[in-house]
Symmetry: C2
Subunit: 226 residues, 2 copies
């Protein structure tokens, strides 16, 4: 790589900054987001790596307000089912804001397409690598949004079959994210689930091993419902 | 968000630049990577979003050269099996460089830990969201590496059970990536699989839908082996 192409210290710091300051947002304002920013978020998604270059991401922009209401209800149904699964933390869970579907300016559903079975490259033994690629694309969207001062939240609290049916998706396709996008009054200083005392972050040092998985490695989590 | 916290045009452009210039690398030099860069890549990984804040990423740094050789052989085994699955494109596939395990300076295996079943938040109906979180973490590593002028490649061509056994991983944990990291002579201008005429990129416009999945949407790919 020639020196002329090297990133300046300012550029590198911007990359570190946006990675550190990105947050999974749940609190939004409803004022419109510049359509050019949404477009640039989607372009960034499309620049993500994908296994065998299969580009397995599809994006449904939900502008229909009745459809948005249906998405909300579908998520709320799963929220109640999740609450039941939380056991003794049920009432604590019910106080958390887990989505911003009716509040935010823009909703984009990200999905895996049908016809994926023909893509063998890099996923013969790990077919779920298509989801990995879509996730890299969504991370790109998140970083662009943050750099533009726009919040984004990834909601995965839904029945994927019910959502697929609602969106008239073909069999063997699969929705993986309801992305809430919009202006925010402020970004959380720390992950919202930490700020709300739902759980704590564990230090990176616990997650780095040398060569082999250590015999002493154990799940450190004390929050059984995560 | 107060104006003082807004990203400057220079910062925003750096974010767009790194997303556009990141490449899934397969060609590496073997000279050492500054350990501080590796550390910052792992810190960036750990700043990724995770479903219910479960932080499902684990990183095995492979410094043992005999172990690295075993990783290479394991990947080469799957490469041959993938070639067989490619049918008429087998010989074309065999000419591609699909990994740089013996060439690069650093190898990190990324894995999902055991004990994930207790995390219900955001994954009661979509348990694979843990892989989504690890993928966001890996995308962060990729972007930091690129900003630092370092190449990274995500190799998923392996039998995960065989790799787990090799790395002495517990049952129900799962390796999802062999990350090759190192200096490169140059970054590909376009994805390597495009430069090698393996496949073509399809335009973003084909992948954006309005509200519902269109009846006319079809898999456009002509490369049946991806």
């Amino acid at each position: 790589m020639s020196d002329s192409k090297a990133y300046s210290a300012t550029e590198r710091e911007a990359v570190y900054r946006v990675i550190a300051e990105r947050r999974d947002m749940r609190h939004f304002r409803s004022d419109a987001v510049d359509p050019d920013i949404i477009k640039r978020m989607l372009i960034a998604a499309h620049q993500a790596p994908s296994v065998g270059l299969m580009q397995p991401w599809r994006f449904l922009q939900v502008s229909d307000s009745a459809l948005r209401q249906q998405l909300y209800e579908l998520v709320n149904d799963e929220r109640l089912r999740t609450a039941e699964a939380m056991g003794e933390r049920k009432s604590e869970f019910m106080k958390l804001k887990v989505e911003g579907i009716l509040d935010c300016a823009e909703i984009i559903v990200a999905a895996l397409p049908d016809g994926r079975e023909k893509y063998v490259f890099g996923r013969r033994t790990l077919p779920e690598m298509d989801l990995a690629s879509v996730s890299c694309a969504i991370q790109n969207m998140w970083l662009v949004a943050r750099a533009e001062g726009i919040g984004m939240g990834w909601v995965s609290m839904f029945d994927p079959q019910a959502l697929a049916q609602l969106l008239k998706m073909p069999a063997s396709s699969k929705p993986v994210a309801i992305l809430c996008i919009g202006h925010v009054d402020e970004f959380y200083d720390r992950p919202m689930l930490v700020e709300e005392n739902w759980t704590q972050e564990r230090p990176l040092e616990q997650f780095i091993y040398q060569n082999y998985w250590p015999e002493t490695a154990e799940e450190q989590g004390t929050t059984s419902s995560g």
